[in-house]
Amino acid sequence: MIPKYVERKQVEEVGGSVQLSSVFQASGRSYALLSDTANNRTILSDLPPKLGEEFGVLLRGGETRPGSPVDLDLGGRVEGYGVFTFPYGPVTYGVPEAGGFKFVTYGERVVKVIPQINFKKRGVETKVLGWDPEDALLLVERSAGNFSASYSACFLNAVEDSLGLEVPSQAKWTRAVAIELERIYNHLYAFGRLAEAASQNVATAQANILREDVLRLNARHFGHRYLFGANRLGGVRADISKAERKDLSDSVRAVVKEFRGLVEFFLSSRIFLDRLQNTARLPREEALALGAVGPAARGSGVQWDDRLTYPIEPYGDIYVNMETDPGEDTMARTMVRIQEIYSSEVILRELLDRMPGDGTATQAAGTGRLNADDFSFCRIESPSGDLIQVVQLDGQGRVRSLHVRPASLVNWLPFARSMETCVFTDFQFAFESFGLSYADSDR
């Protein structure tokens, strides 16, 4: 079943404000999922033949086998006297994950960056085939630990759609609470890493304290610091009682209040701002052409936020402000993240104030009508941007196919493009402002 906020039409050409978001196969046919950023619509189209070649990099990153690293090359050879290529990773502190880069440099300038992904491809999509959705969920939420609430909510939404399950509103609202908490702690992490890269030790420590506070809130209300197991098929594991709602809302408000003070401090530090302004520029046209998503795209003035353009319950019922910044640089992306922390607090307050139900355990009743012939999909705004999952179930309600298009996967190339005019020491700032995660792209 295709939701009402998705347009079904044939698209012949991609360009201008229409972005290719994902390409997937279901029931032996190829489909393209596109984002019309001018009209804020998701478009589902049959795959036009010429798209396959043009977006080879996007597809290659998505379809590689586990166990072999892949270079994401924008193309164009650079060579000559004084041009050096040096490898970075997969064991560095600059990127505390298994993943690498090849930097092509001329003197101090970075001429080109080639991200190397798939060092830790685990192959979740192929592993869960034939599994019960409840079992598959264990792997899906551990694809990217720091985006686990987004991953599990996205997967479950698609599965429940196929199963025809009616999930109680209270459970859906609780899932959104988890997603917003996840967004806040991830943005705080990015802010802390940026401050660390600029040797702002006080700001780093403050950001770490606030992030730990949010992680402890996660643990108190959902049982797990990284929200593993917060969601389950047909509902959630931990419902938030009426008394807890007030408590959670107040605690988040206190964290964000502290953060406002920290931001004021940050905006008055010329040294810090100097490292962010004009660093790693990503022009709007490039962001659109390369398919950037999330804060990276919104920092280049692209108007796209899944919470507004693909409003699954409860996002259709509450006020969400799209935070964009026309600055196109690291500063703009950082400001988008800062503003999103503020707006997430407002969203959380509204979610907790208006949450339906009395907080007693809720679970989808009975079984719906299983729709095994068709696929269903869901888009969720994860902290790093648009996450897409396409699920198809078989006649017994088990996973027949799963396609995941993580936000980080498509943000590698915009990141590589933005680094082209920079020096190597800008790397940390660019990397953290894009919010890239190898675990996310190597799911």
Partner: protein, 233 residues
Amino acid sequence: MTSGFPGREPTPSEVPGRSVPPRAVDSSEWPAGEEACPTGAIRADLKRIDLGKCVFCRRCSSAGFEFDEGGERLRAALMARLAAADPQELAKKQRVFKKSLHVLMIDVGSCNACNLEVLNLASPYYDLTRLGIFFTNSPKHADALVVVGALNRSMVDVLKRTYESMPEPKLVISAGACAISGGVFQGTESFVSPVAGVIPVDVVIPGCPPSPVQILEGLLLATGRSAKEAASP
């Protein structure tokens, strides 16, 4: 603000509910527990829970398994243990590292949660430098290697080379279910083996992911310091 651990017991907020291992209340529960466990951590024939495989998903609660609450929970959550093949060799190394330990973290295929928890130790809440433990960015400067993640085929050589570049004596600590056993990723196409199958491991820290206090306990165990000694370095 900074944790009282290891001088004092961890507080409830430092040990979240989902980091406590399950416990069989009644011996008749074992078969159902084994059935419910997705990672094979519960072995009914041995009546034993392999904490290295447990991902703390709490599915065994449907079989009647229980989880400690209150003060019991705080003690139950401390579950790091020695895994060195030669305890005497380890004791010799521990004498060297008693006062200061430089730690390098290597990710061999994690979901990023363990990475974040290890890095979290540098935050003022845990502040591992107060215990004479420091992060380093190069294997050449490292005394201990903290390995996180399910060992991926493309990371085997990297792990071996990192281990070989570390000066002697050296310690290896496996943190998290994935590094110890593969966790939920055992049996995926790219999973090779537990870390202990490739390099010798001295200490394991169960958890999915282990919380910072649990990692801290593992690091102290690796240096051979009891909680009391650690509190007054």
